[in-house]
Amino acid sequence: MAERLLEVSGLSTHFFTHAGVVKAVNGVSFTLDRQETLGIVGESGSGKTVTALSVMRLVPDPPGKVVAGTIDLKGRDLLAISEDEMRQVRGNDIAMIFQDPMTSLNPVYKVGDQIAEAVMLHQDKGKKEAWSMAAELLKRVGIPDAKHRVTQYPHEFSGGMRQRAMIAMAISCNPDILIADEPTTALDVTIQAQIIEVVIEMQQQYHSGVILITHDLGVVAEMSDKVMVMYGGRTVEYGPVDEVFYNAHHPYTWGLLGSLPRLDLAEKERLTPIKGNPPDLMLLPEGCPFSGRCGYERPECRAVWPELEIVGPEHGVHCHIPADERLTLRAGLPRFLAQVS
């Protein structure tokens, strides 16, 4: 079995604002092994990014605070170490790629400066050496004429190139874990595939574990080994990607899959949206956050958060509907992946 890099259990991150407590993440647990990719999916405000920031300990405090749980990085509890030690972890053990490459590079420095800085922060390297490493890294992420490109400023790069430069920065210290927070959202569709390819390539070269945050189920299907479906700050379903896609047990996962456009179904078929709006994170019910939009609601749903139920190999779900009943309900859905597989 592959080396276990990260084990997060019972993570809860809340924001204490003037208006009340925003429960952004509630009791989220997951693991990540070497060379494994975990996809975190869910709609905006479901707690994907806050989960990632919590792992990096970058949640703005105040108002944010990790109120419960443990984050175990290769045997070290990241929540227990000092800020100085955490700084050594950031960039070195865990690196992050951000959503918008347009704003995540500093406009006043050359691209090479910024990659070299990342190198020098964690490695005992001189400026010259760091610069030649920067050129090498740029080349590795597929930027031609890298020697010349390192001397350019971010505004001379296109969006896709900037994201490549961000990836170069992230892998510069050979991190164990790479967190990509919606790395392709701000990019052109044609560029998206290229960037995903670069991330996969880098993962293979550096043997990193990747946490991929996205709301693009297609990207998850292509890239991930495991997927965690989040809703209202909670994990509703978690498991190997094929299991979750073809044997989904949670009504929210059904909804997500049902609202995907499909090329293989009859032409005139309409998408099935999930009715209603995402919940207010300040007014979450004690129980399942999806209750109210679910459609299969039971009396206990709002009041009690269901225990984890194992429904397949490493495949867990949090739902009050009994398993056999779920399968009957799912079979009745008009658009579900299992029907074609």
């Binding site: 950031r90 690196a95 597929g142 004429d145």
Partner: protein
């Protein structure tokens, strides 16, 4: 202002072809306009700003040339500025401008032109030193206040408010009294009191820049707070500061003049524009206008130069005014 730094993007199409891994090297598009060449292009169209810049260059050159020539052992000024010559001052009232003394002479027969020239160095020095001291304090405290916020911000900015609230000249007078006279102390006093302008100005820009994603990216790389503040945030907030520097130099020069006028600061026989204006004031009543006019003109022109250049620079760096 940061928009301006991020700006100057390709108008599209120039290098939009995404290079593929291992593909042939792409031809790099035209050299994009840098911030400063863009600013200069717009500044050039503002006549007043160009005049201001010209004035600054002339006076700074004179100031530097004067220091260099003194150090090299000869005098740039045609006469010794402190040489008393009673023959040139009949009845102790000086002599009016003439070919040999274009600005006339004062009540001691000293050449006004030479004195104005020598005083230029003092004025330029006070501008540079005072602003440098103010920047050194303001650009450390301002970004720290803006970046950390909360209690740190409150303490620093309320202190700045106190500095703003206190009558400026009185405060300088107090400081000079404590520090003792002498022109270096005057420079330091002015510098110590004007940091608040830069701190407040910079804090505002830092507040917006610290929320930007590249700051978060730097943090995710494991950069320390100090590194983030001074390497990543500060350089992105400098455009308004440059404008304030131009204005601040003009302000410091006129403050020095005001202090010298009040008899604090530059001590006789050294010449300073403010000191000369003060010394010769009483001769105005006797119709000896040239003593007062030329140092006053030098002061007015210099301050005008810095302020109109600063104004032009502000317009040129303002992204909202971009055409």
């Amino acid at each position: 202002m940061t928009d301006d730094l991020i700006g100057t993007q390709e108008p599209g199409g120039q290098e939009s072809i995404e290079p593929m891994a291992g593909g042939p090297a792409m031809i790099v598009g035209r050299q994009p306009l840098g911030l400063w060449s863009d600013v200069w292009r717009r500044l050039r169209r503002n006549k007043l700003a160009v005049v201001g810049l010209g004035i600054i260059i002339v006076f700074v050159t004179v100031g530097i040339a004067e220091s260099v020539s003194t150090a090299a052992g000869f005098n740039l000024a045609p006469y010794d500025p402190n040489a008393v010559n009673y023959e040139l001052s009949p009845e102790g009232l000086g002599s009016p401008p003439s070919w040999s003394h274009p600005f006339g002479t004062d009540y001691l027969g000293r050449d006004i032109f030479s004195r104005v020239l020598v005083a230029t160095r003092i004025s330029m020095l006070v501008g540079v030193i005072a602003v440098a001291i103010a920047l050194a304090i303001g650009l450390v405290l301002g970004p720290i206040a803006g970046y950390y916020g909360g209690a740190v911000d409150s303490v620093i900015m309320r202190t700045a408010d106190i500095f703003f609230a206190f009558p400026y000249i009185l405060f300088v007078l107090l400081l000079v009294t404590v520090l003792g006279g002498g022109f270096i102390n005057v420079f330091v006093a002015i510098g110590l009191l004007s940091w608040a302008v830069y701190a407040r100005l910079n804090r505002g820009s830092v507040l917006s820049v610290r929320r930007m994603e590249f700051v978060e990216a730097a943090r995710a790389q494991g950069a320390t707070d100090l590194r983030i503040i001074f390497r990543h945030v500060l350089p992105n907030t400098m455009a308004p500061v440059y404008v304030a520097i131009a204005m601040g130099v003009g302000g410091a020069i006129s403050t020095e003049a005001a202090l010298s006028f009040l008899g604090i600061g530059i001590q006789p026989p050294d010449a300073s524009w403010g000191k000369m204006i003060s010394d010769y004031l009483s001769y105005m009543a006797a119709g000896r206008w040239w003593m007062e006019l030329f140092p006053a003109l030098a002061l007015v022109i210099t301050v005008f130069g810095f302020i109109s250049f600063g104004n032009g620079l502000r317009d040129a760096t303002d992204p909202k005014l971009k055409e």
